[in-house]
Every structure is written in structure tokens, then in C-alpha cells.
Amino acid sequence: MKRLRGLAAALLLLALWQVGSASGRLDPMVFPSPANVAESLANGFVEGDLPLQILFSLELIGKGLLISGLLAIITGYACMEMDGFRKIVATIVTLIHPLPGVALLPLVILWVGTGKAAIIIIIVHGAFWPLMQNVLSGIASIPYIYFKVGDNYGFSTREKIFRISIPASAPFIIAGFKIAWARAWRALISAEMIFGAAGLAGGIGWAIYKSRVFMDIAGIVSGLFIIMLIGITVEKFVFGFIEKRTVEKWGMAE
């Protein structure tokens, strides 16, 4: 039911858009019609570089999130072991989290140039801090009794991490990854637009930017569409799937 309502809302928007374009009220030089966008998307997939560009962007995001995730888990573990360290990390997160990735670009360019590495650094900056903040909240939320039970049943440090800490803070870790995923896209698109094609084809951000140069308004909007579609797909299917198999099944979902 909920899903149907969402779909109905999307269709209604699409219909309004089509009516607006067909009636001539939306100037195609300002905003393209749905048909133009569909055509541009089809062209991009069949003749153009769109699949390559999507893969390029996803690869960078995947790497950025993987690095952020590993860093957050290692840092999270160190925070649980040493309370002093946890306080330092909490302060650093508060300080650096609000810093826009774009503001770091000049520094990153001086360090590593303008290649893929620079984009990944910007993505990690966008994703890691909100993720870390959630991991810290997650650690703070773990009921002490789980560790007491773990001690009683002779859990090793590794078991305490993988069998207690991570599942017990799963709702926070998943929420953190959701924010990280959204922030990673923002970081990626801005970095791509500034760096240009840091690779053979460049990514979605570069595709949108290039479309502007050619006054290809349908191209710009189809780029935006792709970002939204990937966003919704991952939110519904990847995160939805993980939540159903973990926190919802365990009765821990908020």
C-alpha cells in the first residue's frame, strides 16, 4: 500500500510535468519534456558512455564507503578499548564533520593532484564523519549486560566485537551508512565537476557538467534522474534488504 502510494505520487508528478511541457508553458530550453529526457537517457545507454560513467561513479563511491567503513570500525573498536581516545575522536568528529568537502579541495589537490585518489579522499571525508558519529552513538547505546554475559561465557575480544558490539549497535551503524551513502554522492558529484574527467570516461557528475557545455538540457536532467534512481534503488533494496535481515528481524529497529 505504502509503496503504491509512493508510485502514484511519482506518476502524478510525471503527468504534471508532461502536461506542462505539452502545453508550452515549460520552455524546452529551460526545462526539457519527459520525452526528451527519456530519449536522452536511451541514447546515453545505447550509444553514449552512460553505463561506463555510472560504473565509474559507483566504483569511486564503493571504494570511498569501503574505506570509511573499515576506518569507522577500527576507530570504533579503539574507542571502546580506550575512553581517552574516544573523547579525542568525538572532538575531532565535531570539529571536522561540518567542513564542506569542497573547502578541502585545494589542500587535497596539493597533496595528491586531481586524479581518482583526490575524489576518493573527498568521498571519505563526506562519508566517514557522519558514520563515525553514528558508530560512537551506537557504542554508547550498548547495554552493559551483553558484555557481562560475554564475560560469563568466556568471549574473546574478537567475539566481543563481532558477536556483541557490532550486532548490538547495528541500528546505528546502518543509519550511519545511509547518511554516509547520501553524503558520498554529494562529495563525488562536486569533486567530479571540479576535476573533470579523472579517468577515461569520467562519472555522472562529469557527464552533467559536460552537458551544460553543449547546452544539452535533457542530458543534464537525465544525469540528475540517474542519481535519484540509484539513490532510491540502493535505499529500498540494499539498505531495505539489510534491515529486514538484521535489525527488523531482531526487533531492534527504531
Binding site: P143, Y146, D151, N152, Y153, R163, P167, W250, G251, M252
Partner: protein, 250 residues
């Protein structure tokens, strides 16, 4: 009789406004193999701390705890605690996996069938057969406590420590959990240290009752109990209940 556990002159204190306050003071007790002994007292009397000390969960200032003559320094499989908290089962394991967990850890080299069977046996023992694939959040408070008892039994400890395990369930469920404990005790010959503030509960389940007073964590009396397994059947039951109550509140 065969002494399982000795707590000898245990003192635990903290400092408040520069003065020492005693949580436990010269606390001593012995637990015989095969008995259920209750530690009975009002809230704040130090009974939970005493249990935590026995289990190795808390440090003490002086004294020692000996299990079969060996000094206890940390929690281990030999004494398993059943808590009051109905969230002591891991929510991310189903009931079966919660119970199989200690079996797997204790018998690392045994085949899967061994701990599968053990978990099923334990579920049956506590009256939860058929609930193995339920997650803790899908069970009632009483069922979760049964699950926690099954997990403790599955660990084959020398001693089971119970910290007001039935305090959070309704009266009818509490009666049936007490009967369950007595049933298993008859069946398997458990050794249990049971902390409670409920005099009737202590009278119903215990072989002996250790009565703690309100102040300084001192043992008032260790009484042999004649009412185990009986509910208010003799007239002097109420005299005994009244007497214990006065001791607790004094």
C-alpha cells in the same frame, strides 16, 4: 555434605565524603553441592553485590571466594549468572542459537549434531520446545527468563547464580518459574545461589536462607528452611515470614 563454594570475610567499600561506606562487611557463606540457597534482603542491602562478587564480576577490598577450593578471580563457565534483566538473551540470535552458543564454546570439537541436540534438550527442559526459531523479542518476559535458564543449564556450570530472575514477571508466571526451577533441581541436582527480596519466594525455593540486614552488608542469619516446595501450608509459616521480615528491616 560436599562444600561447593566458600565466601570468606568479604569486604567491599567505597568512600563518600571521606568516610568509608560498606557495601559488604565480613560477608561469609558456604554453599553445599546440590542445594538452593537464597540471599534475602531489602533493596540496597548488598545482596546483588554479594552475588556479583561470588561470580567474579566485581572486585573486593578483602576476603576471598573459593570454588571447590580454588580462588575466583574472574567470571567463567563454572558459575553462570541468570539476570533479572529480560534482555539478557542476545536479540540477534534466535532462542536456539542463544542456547547453543555456550555449548559450542565449551565443546569446540564436538559435531554440530551434538550442540543442536543439547539446545533442543534444554528447550524441552524449560518447556519451550518448538520455540527454537523464535527471536527473544517475539517471546514474553517469562519465556525469555526460561530461555536464560536454559542457556545457563546448557553451559553445565558447577553453580548457577540467579539475581532476582523472576522479579520482572507477573505473579502467576513467577509461580510457574519457581516450580520450573524446583523441577529442574529435583531432576538434575543443581547448585543454586538465588538472590531475592521476596520472602515467600525464598521460603518456597530454598534449602537455606541467608538473611541480610539493611545496614553495612552484614549477614544476619543463615536459616535452614522447612518450607521448600510448600506454599503456606503450615500455620507457623506466617510466623516465620514475619520474623524474617523484621530481621530484614531491622
Amino acid at each position: 555434605m560436599n562444600t561447593a563454594l566458600q565466601a570468606i570475610n568479604i569486604t567491599k567499600k567505597y568512600f563518600k565524603d571521606g568516610k568509608p561506606r560498606f557495601i559488604l562487611r565480613d560477608f561469609s557463606m558456604e554453599v553445599q553441592k546440590g542445594e538452593i540457597i537464597s540471599i534475602l534482603g531489602a533493596s540496597g542491602c548488598g545482596k546483588t553485590t554479594a552475588l556479583n562478587v561470588i561470580g567474579g564480576f566485581e572486585k573486593i577490598d578483602s576476603g576471598q571466594v573459593l570454588l571447590h577450593g580454588e580462588k575466583i578471580k574472574a567470571p567463567s563457565f563454572s558459575m553462570i549468572m541468570v539476570f533479572q534483566d529480560s534482555h539478557q538473551l542476545f536479540p540477534w540470535f534466535d532462542l536456539h542459537d542463544n542456547i547453543a552458543m555456550p555449548v559450542k564454546k565449551r565443546h569446540k570439537k564436538k559435531p554440530k549434531a551434538f550442540y543442536e541436540k543439547k539446545a533442543c534438550d534444554m528447550l524441552e527442559q524449560v518447556g519451550l520446545e518448538g520455540y527454537g526459531n523464535y527471536y527473544p523479542h517475539e517471546l514474553s518476559g517469562g519465556m525469555r527468563q526460561r530461555g536464560a535458564i536454559a542457556r545457563a543449564l546448557a553451559s553445565e556450570p558447577d553453580l548457577i547464580l540467579m539475581d532476582e530472575p523472576f522479579a520482572n514477571v507477573d505473579a502467576i508466571t513467577r509461580d510457574s518459574l519457581q516450580d520450573l526451577l524446583l523441577g529442574i533441581w529435583k531432576d538434575k541436582g543443581l547448585t543454586v545461589v538465588f538472590v531475592t527480596h521476596d520472602i515467600e519466594e525464598a521460603l518456597y525455593i530454598s534449602d537455606r536462607i541467608l538473611i541480610m540486614g539493611k545496614e553495612s552488608g552484614k549477614v544476619k542469619r543463615i536459616a535452614k528452611n522447612e518450607w521448600k516446595g510448600l506454599r503456606k501450608t503450615k500455620e507457623d509459616y506466617f510466623d516465620e515470614k514475619e520474623r524474617i521480615k523484621n530481621e530484614i528491616m531491622a
